[in-house]
Structures are given as structure tokens and as C-alpha cells.
């Protein structure tokens, strides 16, 4: 989308202008149409809506005790008032899935959004100013990119107390690097465009160019990347939870639920492992489908996946 050369609208005849406006409107409609043409994307979008409803609205209709454990009913098989059984300390598994999903989704989206905003700013500033500023800012990104994320997240989790805010910040800290790189690349081509030159010529500052012109024109890249970042963040959170660094109980998270369930794999207690694993896979795969379709809709070629 952003690679098309836009003819200067102010220099055109009135009827041409209205044609261009119509074309522009049509392009907006096109994004939606291309997205809706992709059946997997619709499946993904529907699934995500269902999963979010399940996690956030589900507890309104399905009440279960997620505050205190009850060892006398630990590891009950499905049925007996517990549709998906109970876990090793007696929490209702279905309710656990909902409350675990809440934290996974909240942290995933918050971290991706935070990382997206910061990464976009970093990349746009770096690309806009160029030269020494660009070199220094991008070397910092390169350095951070060559740090193995999981190792450092585990190291940080071993040092600081784990809570929802910490986890969000920690995941976001490594997630902003890729958007920063992509937006910098986009900015490098955008800043040579006539309309940015015009802003400069009329005395507009860097802030005006970046916020009103560069960011809106790079919105496709940004939206697509944030979608993928949410998927990655949810996967990273699950891995951290599995390795023992989730938010401590009674709060739940999908990764920790799996690591507790593993112990009972040989006892055949399938309800502790399969529902939560399937939920993680469905969430991530839906986000990937949506991201893929958005990429086609916005026609962003920079992002491979």
C-alpha cells in the first residue's frame, strides 16, 4: 500500500480529486474485503472473539472457587459438578482455564501494544533523523536482538518478584525490537516522499512529520506486526509459566497449569493437559491467521511469517 506513489492531490482538477478520494475510500473498503475473502482469517477472528468471551464473560455464568484450594476434591475426573474435573489442589479446571486465560490475554495484548508503540516511535525517530542517531539507535536494537530472550526473562524472573506488571514490561522489553526495525525501514522510504519534504518546507517539525505523516502511512506494517507480537507474547508467557515463572497462585496462567498437569500424565488425567494446551494453540493459531490476512489486506511485504 505504502509503496504506491501518491500523486499530489492539491495539484489535480476537481473531478480528478473526487475520483482520487473515491479511490482512497475504496482502498479502505478493499482492506476489509481482502480480509473477509480469507476464510482462515474469519475462522481466526471468530475463534479469538469466542476465546475472549470464554475467558472474560465465562466466569459471569460459570461460578467456581478460584481463590482457595480444596485438597479433598483434588484430581477429580470430569463430571460430578466439575465439567473438566479438578487439578492437583482441587481448583475447578474449567474455571481455571478462564482465569488463566484472562491473565494470558491481558498480558499478551498489553505487552504487544506497549512494545508496538515504543518500537514504532524508536524506529520512526531513528529512520527520520538518520546519520549518527540512526546508527546508534539501530546498534542498540541489534545488540538487544542478539540476547537470547528466554534466558534473560528467566534470569529476570529469578531476580525480581513476578507480578502482572513485571511480566508485561519484561515481555514488552524484548518485543519492541522487531517493530522498531520494520518501522525504521519504512520511514527511510517515507521520509524522501514529497509530502514529508513539504512538511519540512513549511516549517513543520520532526514531531509533526512522524506523528501525522509517517506513522499513519506505516499503519499497515504496525497493525500486522502487533498482531504477530500478541501471538508471540502469549507463547512466551506460556513458556515462562511452564518453567515455573508465572504469576504465583491463586492467580492462574495456562503455562503453569500445564506444568502442574505433566506430573499426572502417566496417571491418565488427560483433563489437566489437553484442554489448556489446545486453548493455547487455538489462541496463537487464530492470531497468526488474522495477522496473515491483515498482511495480505494491507499488502505489507516486509513481514515474513
Amino acid at each position: 500500500m505504502t509503496d504506491q506513489i501518491e500523486p499530489d492531490i492539491a495539484l489535480q482538477e476537481p473531478e480528478v480529486v473526487s475520483q482520487m478520494v473515491r479511490a482512497k475510500r475504496k482502498r479502505g473498503a478493499n482492506i476489509f474485503e481482502v480480509f473477509m475473502d480469507n476464510k482462515l482469517a474469519i475462522v481466526g477472528a471468530v475463534l479469538i472473539v469466542l476465546i475472549v468471551l470464554f475467558c472474560f464473560v465465562g466466569p459471569v455464568f460459570y461460578h467456581s472457587n478460584q481463590i482457595s484450594s480444596n485438597l479433598s476434591i483434588a484430581n477429580t475426573s470430569p463430571g460430578h459438578g466439575h465439567p473438566l474435573g479438578t487439578d492437583n489442589v482441587g481448583y475447578d479446571e474449567l474455571g481455571r482455564l478462564m482465569s488463566g486465560g484472562q491473565s494470558s490475554i491481558e498480558i499478551g495484548f498489553a505487552a504487544a501494544l506497549l512494545a508496538g508503540v515504543f518500537g514504532v516511535l524508536w524506529g520512526a525517530v531513528s529512520g527520520y533523523f538518520g546519520g549518527v542517531v540512526d546508527t546508534i539507535m539501530m546498534r542498540i536494537v541489534d545488540a538487544l536482538l542478539s540476547i537470547p530472550v528466554l534466558f534473560v526473562l528467566l534470569l529476570m524472573a529469578a531476580i525480581v518478584h513476578v507480578n502482572q506488571l513485571n511480566l508485561t514490561l519484561a515481555v514488552a522489553f524484548f518485543a519492541w525490537l522487531v517493530p522498531a526495525r520494520l518501522i525504521r525501514g519504512e520511514t527511510l522510504t517515507l521520509r524522501t516522499r514529497e509530502y514529508i519534504q513539504a512538511v519540512k518546507g513549511m516549517g513543520g517539525g520532526a514531531g509533526r512529520s512522524i506523528f501525522l505523516h509517517i506513522v499513519p502511512n506505516a499503519i499497515g506494517t504496525i497493525v500486522v506486526n502487533i498482531t504477530f507480537q500478541v501471538a508471540d507474547a502469549i507463547l512466551a508467557l506460556a513458556a515462562l509459566g511452564y518453567l515455573g515463572f508465572g504469576i504465583p497462585p491463586p492467580a492462574a496462567n495456562w503455562g503453569s497449569m500445564l506444568s502442574q498437569g505433566v506430573t499426572y500424565l502417566y496417571a491418565g488425567e488427560w483433563w489437566l493437559i489437553y484442554p489448556v494446551g489446545i486453548l493455547i494453540v487455538l489462541t496463537v493459531i487464530s492470531l497468526n491467521f488474522i495477522g496473515d490476512a491483515l498482511r495480505d489486506a494491507f499488502d505489507v511485504r516486509l513481514q515474513g511469517r
Binding site: 541489534d142 542478539s146 530472550v149 534466558f151 529476570m156 500445564l258 500424565l265 493455547i280 494453540v281 496463537v284
Partner: protein, 316 residues
């Protein structure tokens, strides 16, 4: 080529210095400082003071950093694990070969499968078999590594009882090599995850190259179909994979950590994980640095490899 090499190596050195500063700063963020971490919460004030003097922790920050660099570079001392009562370098020399064996084997099999698979999908693109394979790779990379490992254990060890659920438990790498049956599941886990992403990149890279003029020229000259694919296209299409390989070193190491902890394979990843559980900070910090150095080397080798395969990069 020399200029390119010098520039890239220079960049890598800068990155390693930045990472070493970062891990060093983390050492100072430890609650109660490094002395508390190593001597325990009940250490007396005087023993903490003695420890700080002995390790130079009472000196200014940059002096300390210099001391730390000197310790690693000149004395080849990566630190000492108080929990395992062994120098980190000894632990590394035991566990690193095992991790290298696991990752290397998995990566080799991944490449052997993923490159032909990607080319096959590119040739058959938008046909039912391509869609099916794309579906598999979508599921493959949306699946958490540990969940995949658990599924494999549930199927092959618990249900079929064919393979052992844990990896070889020997202290040396020769033990892992002589117990191939126990290596199957860990290697399979890493291979499935790897093939899922690499075959997808290979597919799009091959599709892009198949549309190029040189392919048409080769076909027009009467080169056979296999000749076009493997002599002309492969070399160009594999370029992005080489870069990807270098850039995916952090992901490979993370996958390794998770796989090792799922199958209890005594490599560097498991060492790191157990050290987070016991808060063995000297091991954690040393391993973070070592892993970062490996990542930087991986990126560097990928860039140089790219230069060797693609003459255009070498000239510019």
C-alpha cells in the same frame, strides 16, 4: 571482502561488550548484591565485607567492570557455582557438548527436510498438498515447544510405550550418542518446530525465485526441471535461509532450553533452568553471557556465509 569482514567483526565485538555490561549490571541488581546471593541470607556482615573486598565489589562501578572483564578474559574464570560446588567452566565443559549434539542433530535433520519440502511446496503451490503442508507448518509454529514435547511423550511413551519419556541421563556426550532411542523424542520435538518455520520461509523464497527471469532463461535453454530447481534456483533461494539460520540462534537456544527441561536432558539449557530454580546467580550470569556470545557468533557466521554464497555481497 576484507572491509566487510572487519566491519562485521567490529560490530560483533561492540555487541558482546554491550551484553557483558548488561549482565554485569544485572549482577548489581541482585537483591542484597552479589555477596548475599553467593553467601546466603544468613551471612554475617564481616564475611560479606571480606567477600566484597576479595571480589573487588567495594570499588567503583567501572573498576569492578574492569575486574570482571579481566577475570573472564585473562584468568578464564567464569565464576563459581556455590550450589553445585564447581567452577562454571567445568559445568560448561560437561554440558555444552551434550547441548551441541542435541541442537546440531536436530538442526541438521531440520535442514535436510525443510529445504526440499519448501521447494516441493513452491512447485506445487496452491494445490491441495501444498495447503495441507502449510496447515501443518501453521500448527507447528503456533504450538508451544513444551506442549509438543508433552504430546509426543503422551503418545510414544505413555500410550504406545515405544520410546523412553526422558533423554539419556549420562554425564558425557558419548552416553547420549550410544543411546539413540532416548534421543529420538527430544530431537523430534526440535525438528518439528524447526521444519514448521524453515519450510515456510523456503517456500516463499523459492516462489519468489521461480518467478525470476533467470529461471525462464534456463528453461528456454533446455535445462531439465531438476536442473533448474537444484542447480539454478536452490543457490539463490537458500540465501534468506542462511541469514535466518544465523538470526534464529536465540530461538534455537530457547527451544533447546525448553526441550531439555521437558525431557530432562542434562545440557546447558537444563543447567540454566535448574539454576533459576536454585537461584544460582553465578551460573545464570555466566551462562547468559556465554549464550549471548554464541548468538553473536551465529549471526556473524551467517553474514559471512551469506557473503560466500552470494558474490554480490562480497564485492560491495
Amino acid at each position: 571482502m576484507t572491509r566487510f569482514l572487519v566491519k562485521r567483526i567490529g560490530q560483533s565485538v561492540v555487541v558482546v561488550i554491550l551484553v557483558s555490561m548488561a549482565t554485569f549490571t544485572l549482577l548489581h541488581l541482585l537483591p542484597g548484591g552479589a555477596a548475599r546471593a553467593e553467601l546466603g541470607v544468613r551471612a554475617s556482615q564481616s564475611s560479606i565485607h571480606a567477600f566484597n573486598v576479595a571480589n573487588g565489589y567495594n570499588r567503583p562501578f567501572f573498576d569492578q567492570y574492569w575486574f570482571y572483564v579481566d577475570r573472564i578474559l585473562v584468568h578464564h574464570n567464569l565464576g563459581y557455582s556455590y550450589k553445585l560446588n564447581e567452577p562454571v567452566s567445568t559445568l560448561l565443559s560437561m554440558d555444552l557438548p551434550k547441548s551441541a549434539y542435541l541442537s546440531g542433530l536436530a538442526l541438521l535433520i531440520t535442514i535436510i527436510i525443510a529445504i526440499p519440502l519448501g521447494i516441493y511446496q513452491a512447485v506445487r503451490r496452491n494445490k491441495p498438498d501444498d495447503y495441507a503442508l502449510t496447515g501443518f507448518s501453521f500448527i507447528g509454529y503456533s504450538m508451544p515447544t513444551f506442549w509438543l514435547g508433552l504430546l509426543l511423550i503422551a503418545f510414544f511413551s505413555v500410550f504406545l510405550k515405544w520410546l523412553p519419556p526422558s533423554a539419556p541421563q549420562t554425564p558425557t556426550v558419548s552416553g547420549s550418542i550410544t543411546d539413540p532411542k532416548a534421543m529420538i523424542l527430544p530431537v523430534l520435538t526440535l525438528t518439528i518446530v524447526g521444519v514448521a518455520s524453515f519450510s515456510r520461509y523456503m517456500r516463499s523464497s523459492a516462489i519468489e525465485n521461480l518467478a525470476q527471469d533467470y529461471i525462464r532463461t534456463a528453461r528456454a535453454k533446455g535445462v531439465t526441471k531438476a536442473g533448474v530447481l537444484f542447480r539454478h534456483m536452490l543457490r539463490n533461494a537458500v540465501l534468506p535461509i542462511v541469514t535466518l539460520l544465523g538470526l534464529s540462534v536465540p530461538a534455537l537456544l530457547s527451544g533447546n532450553l525448553i526441550t531439555e527441561s521437558v525431557f530432562n536432558y542434562p545440557g546447558v539449557g537444563l543447567l540454566f533452568w535448574t539454576s533459576t530454580q536454585t537461584r544460582d546467580y553465578p551460573v545464570l550470569l555466566a551462562l547468559t553471557l556465554v549464550v549471548a556470545v554464541f548468538t553473536v557468533i551465529g549471526n556473524l557466521v551467517a553474514d559471512i556465509g551469506y557473503g560466500i554464497i552470494d558474490r554480490r555481497v562480497r564485492l560491495s
